[in-house]
């Protein structure tokens, strides 16, 4: 799968309260959650995102609460992929489980806001078209690939049980 989109840039330790504040957790609707995505860090984020855009952040993206509403909110407002230096563990598994593409890229910092980036998830390559640079992302473990290939944890588990 190839994803091409514009970069929205954030720093280190973006927490799940930043991604979607607890005051909006009395719904599970992706659209409603998406409308408030990232609003603590960038009030107009949801309005500026166009479907297919890419969030780029530093280390420990998604730290804090276990709320799966966080990856759902990102998906809900049209974010196609998150690239980060590293991910907090519950966010990581939530994204894998629900099928929000994520890429761990130590050089994430080099990507700039507004850059046009093309990512080949299968190859694990991140190409910054604006800067004309290509990076190789950390490959997923084989086990994680199985879940991704199955289309998420529910399908994977169904296959496993049957």
């Amino acid at each position: 799968m190839v994803i091409r989109g514009k970069v929205h840039k954030f720093g280190n330790d973006v927490n799940t309260d930043d991604i979607i504040s607890a005051r909006y957790l009395s719904t599970t609707d992706p659209g409603e959650l998406g409308a408030h995505c990232m609003e603590i860090l960038d009030r107009d984020f949801a309005k500026r995102v166009t479907p297919g855009d890419i969030v780029v952040a530093g280390n420990n993206f998604g730290c804090g609460s276990s709320r799966e509403h966080a990856p759902i909110a990102l998906k809900g407002c049209g974010v196609a992929l998150v690239i980060a230096g590293s991910f907090a563990r519950i966010f990581y598994r939530n994204a894998i489980n629900i099928g929000l593409p994520i890429i761990e890229l130590p050089q994430a910092e080099a990507l700039e806001a507004g850059d046009e980036v093309e990512v080949d998830l299968g190859q694990g390559t991140v190409r910054d078209i604006t800067q004309d640079k290509t990076y190789r992302a950390q490959p997923f473990a084989e086990f994680i690939c199985q879940i991704i290939d199955a289309g998420g944890l529910v399908n994977w588990a169904k296959e496993k049980v049957h």
């Binding site: 603590i40 420990n60 276990s66 799966e68 590293s86 563990r89 489980n97 086990f143 529910v154 588990a157």
Partner: protein
């Protein structure tokens, strides 16, 4: 190579003799947990997957503790979904307002989790039960739904970090100060993906409520779990509510890390000369000793949460507050973590102390900790809380401030209206 307690517990649940860090396992769970925020999503997933039956109706807790008593119609709808799911699947451990408590205080108190168990919960503070010698970790709603379907969860076996606490704990210093100091030292991602093992003579002498507060905050350092080897303190706590482990206490000897177990880092602390610490906005790692915080005025104090809403937390707060008054412009909110803690606080006269001091005592709820309800902050307001997170806007307005500390510091600060060492108030 020897095994850590974490490896040993995980190995037992895979049926293998040993498991190595970095490998992925698909393991049986002993207990699962969801709340009114995370369980509705899990129910959606469970039903959409076409699942008809849960793996074990006795191994599922549904605890509507976050936005209850329901703060608005949407929250009421979410809590109702838990009740309906519990009815449909005859879930044993569903509790209504009036009988519940904050999940991570309630489950240990009821004996639903214990040594050698493997527990997952759709709540990041599920790591709390490591204090009892369980492997216990927070997961998402899809993980929870799949565990309801299959009785299993996927895990990457974590590397372990060891934190050794030596010396004698001074008065006013608590488990909360131990863990805040660790987070301050290693940072909010210092233990990412890892198990944090707490040990040493100061841990052996640490009461269970303090141990629970410590393991509760492993996630704030990015940890997958916190864990303390079971000992006499664990036995005394657990034996009140359940058989120690399925096969009895002797098995605990096997629940210790081997001497030659591998750790990716070992840190040692001597607590003898410590003083309480405070985490300043907006990260739990932003630590200063209470004496070096400077003059910080506060508008609200919250004593409660899954970190510090247990009876010993209320006792020490009441000790500081007894015969004193909350400062004129400050709100003091005391939130016993469970109904049992509440009742015990009534029996011991602690509730009277809080009310006479000018505080309010609330029904158990997560409420203000996550900015849900029951104590939301306005722009520019500051709160000193015994909770576990102080992210920007966590307790309310984007421009509000949350400081984290132990219950004695919280009580002393309520009296003076600024962040204060308990010794400065209590000796007057």
């Amino acid at each position: 190579m020897g095994q850590t307690i974490t490896q040993k517990i995980l190995a037992r649940h895979t049926g293998e003799k040993t498991v190595e860090p970095g490998t992925f396992v698909w393991v049986k769970v002993d207990f699962t947990l969801g709340n009114d925020v995370t369980a509705p999503l899990a129910i959606d997933t469970f039903e959409k997957a076409g699942a008809r039956r849960v793996f074990d109706k006795k191994k599922i807790a549904l605890i509507p503790d976050h936005f209850t008593p329901a703060k608005d119609i949407q929250s009421a709808q979410q809590a109702k979904r838990l009740k309906e799911f519990a009815d449909k699947h005859q879930i044993v451990h569903y509790y209504e307002v009036g009988r519940l408590g904050i999940e991570h205080a309630l489950l240990p108190q009821m004996g639903l989790v214990g040594p050698a168990d493997l527990v997952i919960g759709a709540d990041s503070h599920t790591c709390t039960y490591g204090a009892l010698g369980a492997f216990s970790t927070g997961v998402g709603s899809t993980d929870l739904a799949v565990a309801w379907m299959t009785g299993r969860v996927w895990l990457r076996v974590p590397e372990s970090m060891k934190f050794v606490f030596k010396g004698k704990r001074p008065r006013w210093v608590s488990g909360k100060d131990f863990i805040l100091t660790v987070i301050g030292a290693i940072g909010v991602e210092g233990a990412r993906y890892r198990a944090m093992e707490f040990t040493g003579e100061a841990i052996r002498r640490l009461p269970m409520d303090d141990r629970l507060a410590m393991c509760n905050m492993a996630i704030e350092a990015g940890g997958k779990s916190g864990i303390i080897e079971p000992d006499e303190v664990t036995a005394a706590f657990v034996s009140k509510t359940r058989r120690l482990t399925a096969s009895g206490i002797k098995e605990w000897d096997a629940l210790k890390s081997d001497k030659d177990a591998a750790y990716v880092g070992i840190k040692e602390y001597d607590v003898t000369k410590w003083e309480p610490v405070v985490a300043l906005p907006h990260l739990p790692s932003n630590i200063k000793p209470v004496g070096k915080v400077g003059k910080v005025r506060i508008d609200q104090v919250v004593i409660g949460s899954c970190a510090n809403g247990r009876i010993s937390d209320l006792r020490i707060a009441a000790k500081v507050l007894k015969g004193r008054k909350v400062a004129g412009r400050v709100r003091l909110l005391v939130i016993p973590a469970t109904q049992e803690v509440y009742l015990q606080a009534v029996r011991e006269g602690l509730v009277e102390t809080f009310v006479r001091a000018g505080g309010v005592v609330s029904t158990p709820t997560c409420g203000p900790c996550l900015g849900g309800h029951m104590g939301i902050l306005a722009e520019g307001e500051a709160c000193l809380a015994t909770t576990n997170r102080n992210f920007r806007g966590r307790m309310g307005a984007k421009g509000s401030f949350v400081y984290l500390a132990n219950p004695a510091v919280a009580a002393a600060s309520a009296v003076t209206g600024r962040i204060t060492h308990p010794a400065a108030v209590a000796k007057k």
